[in-house]
Symmetry: C2
Subunit: 381 residues, 2 copies
């Protein structure tokens, strides 16, 4: 008996697989999108207590813990989202899977802006959608012009990340509203991934809503709750029955204990100081080190006023070879721009190491950047 | 701005939504597929400890906690699965989502046997597959004949549940091997959902493997870990890179703390006694009560030698109306056969209440069954 012979390969190898081969002992990671801090103590206590609570062993409501949904509704209302139904998911990726299964069909044309979040591309490819990739502008922002062109061509969905992964760019309110209005006029969905909403540096993160707008959120980064797998999605209530189908067939519910941790984290950060102080410290310390390290390459591309990433332009196109060389020769891991539809660039994460470790990694990165700027690096591939 | 106008309705309303409206206070549930017991103490302790362990806050390996995968590989080898790669998922439903995104394309014809697990149908519908539904035999088992017919028609995937949800039927080894051989010959996938493998009464549960066979498993039922969301999937190692894509775009990893609970549960049940004693008690007590209650309808259909469900035939076709009447008039909830492709029947779960509560619910059910057998019930719909 043989494996069914037709090809099942629908998309490129995931970056997680590529990076695994580079993650050797001694390689400092500025690659994976994580934060170096632990969750609020209150979240850990809540989880430890919930572990012994019988309700944690039972399935919860598909849409999420009622108290958590209520708290999230309050939070979103304060940011102007007044008509949203909220569903708690096992992370923002699962929220996007709900969107892909619910709102999209195979063959639908979907717009991503390069540099895009690689998992959005991978999900849409697996879903069988036709992914249209448009370039961002000089600030690495999605443009109204490209959106209009692709919608004119029949696209039914536009996906943006705000603040951007991997662009690090915060979409200004006016631009975001224009994108939402355009999608609304053309009968297309606008999916906004707000995973990094807490990470803004001088810029303001805003939310837009509408019957065609779906907003995704995550507990992973701001609260250091990556391994607990909690995110959420906010959408027009009329979509509720459809989202429920995807939720029940994928997750049933996010882990109950994890939702207790998320609720406690949210409450511990009610005034925004818990995350705010950590984000401000990142900007002062780690981000500064990374920008200094990248200076030989001309620094970062765009404003880099949000999220936990900066994009740098390499003096050559073969970013994957450079990334391997960075790991093997200089002991520092970053993400190749090719994985995000932007060859000739790298994505550097500045949140996954504490300041001392980040500074040490940046010393290696700076040395490598000097070498690259002087025409060095791996042999051309 | 309006919601995009094209229809997004790809499948019937989920049964979870229908049942919610019937779950009023005072209604005893023999509906949802859950068990009445708590997880092993060791699993609860492990989770409470893991809540305070820094590794729980970080993303884990996509494929799962290495120790858990090792323990699962050992368990599966003992059941004859010698060449399987294992991936831990956020429940068996997410494992099926991985399968649907990885191995299937929109338009693929997939075979389900009625009565089918409603969420398999819902996922395949959302995926855009063409679901072919074939009848089971008198014992509610999938048949080789129907499989051959549908594969001759070009189907690329066959999905069975063993022991069956909702059939309660254990697929005999010979039948399962014949299905696997046939799928192998025709280049089709065989997906076997073994969620209820621990629940067998006299029958033997076996596993089959092959490059075209995917086996799904769950921690939810046997170990009472529903709310922790842990399952796993075993497949030919050559499929690993593809499964990794689905995993990373949906779950990234199952909740880390939940995986610690699952590992401890597995270890606490190394000799099978922990689950074995509970399953045996179900057969002695709850299952007996349910069968007695259904006797006025002629008892259950098929052997009912596995899982936690029995199917009963109603003396009328309008099972949805009967289910509403059962809840509203008699205070007992069951699942309508229509939700599983088998109108005129009901699915009764006998694991979700302890013996006393189950006995009380069965007294209500029996009274209703007598009424139905005598031509009573709701007005014909």
């Amino acid at each position: 008996m043989a494996r069914p012979s037709r090809s099942i390969v629908k998309t490129d190898a995931p970056i997680v697989e590529k990076m695994r081969t580079l993650s050797k002992p001694g390689v400092a990671s500025l690659a994976q999108g994580i934060v170096h801090w632990a969750p609020p103590d209150a979240a850990i206590d809540a989880a430890a207590n919930a572990a012994r609570d019988p309700s944690s062993h039972a399935y919860g409501a598909d849409a999420g813990l009622p108290e958590l949904r209520t708290a999230l509704a309050k939070k979103l209302r304060a940011k102007g989202l007044v008509n949203a139904e909220i569903m708690v998911t096992a992370g923002a990726n699962q929220a996007f899977a709900n969107v892909a299964l619910t709102l999209l069909d195979a063959g639908d044309a979907c717009l991503l802006f390069a540099p895009y979040y690689f998992n959005h591309k991978m999900m849409l490819d697996m879903r069988g959608c036709r992914v249209e990739v448009a370039p961002t502008d000089k600030r690495l922002l999605p443009t109204v012009e490209a959106t209009r062109t692709v919608l004119d061509g029949g696209a039914t969905c536009v996906v943006v990340v705000n603040p951007g992964n991997p662009s690090g760019a915060v979409i200004p309110e006016e631009r975001l509203r224009a994108l939402a209005a355009l999608c609304g006029e053309r009968g297309a969905w606008l999916v906004v991934d707000n995973t990094y909403e807490a990470f803004v540096y001088g810029a303001e993160h805003v939310l837009v809503e509408g019957p065609h707008v779906v907003n995704l959120f995550s507990f992973s980064k701001a609260y250091g709750l990556m391994g607990w797998r909690v995110g959420y999605v906010a959408y027009d209530p009329a979509l509720g029955p459809e989202f429920l189908k995807a939720q029940d067939t994928i997750a049933i519910c996010a882990a109950q204990c994890s939702q207790r941790a998320a609720l406690a984290a949210l409450e511990a950060d009610a005034d925004g100081r818990w995350t705010g102080s950590r984000v401000a410290a990142l900007a002062r310390a780690q981000k500064t080190h990374v920008l200094r390290a990248l200076a030989p390459l001309g620094g970062c591309v765009g404003a880099a006023d949000g999220a936990i990433y900066v994009i740098a332009k390499l003096p050559r196109e073969d970013d994957e070879a450079v990334v391997e060389w960075l790991a093997n020769k200089h002991g520092v891991a970053v993400i190749p721009g090719s994985a995000c539809g932007l060859p000739g660039h790298i994505r550097v994460c500045y949140a996954n190491l504490d300041e001392a470790a980040c500074e040490a990694a940046c010393a290696r990165l700076e040395e490598a950047c000097v070498e690259l700027a002087n025409g060095g690096g791996p042999p051309p591939s």
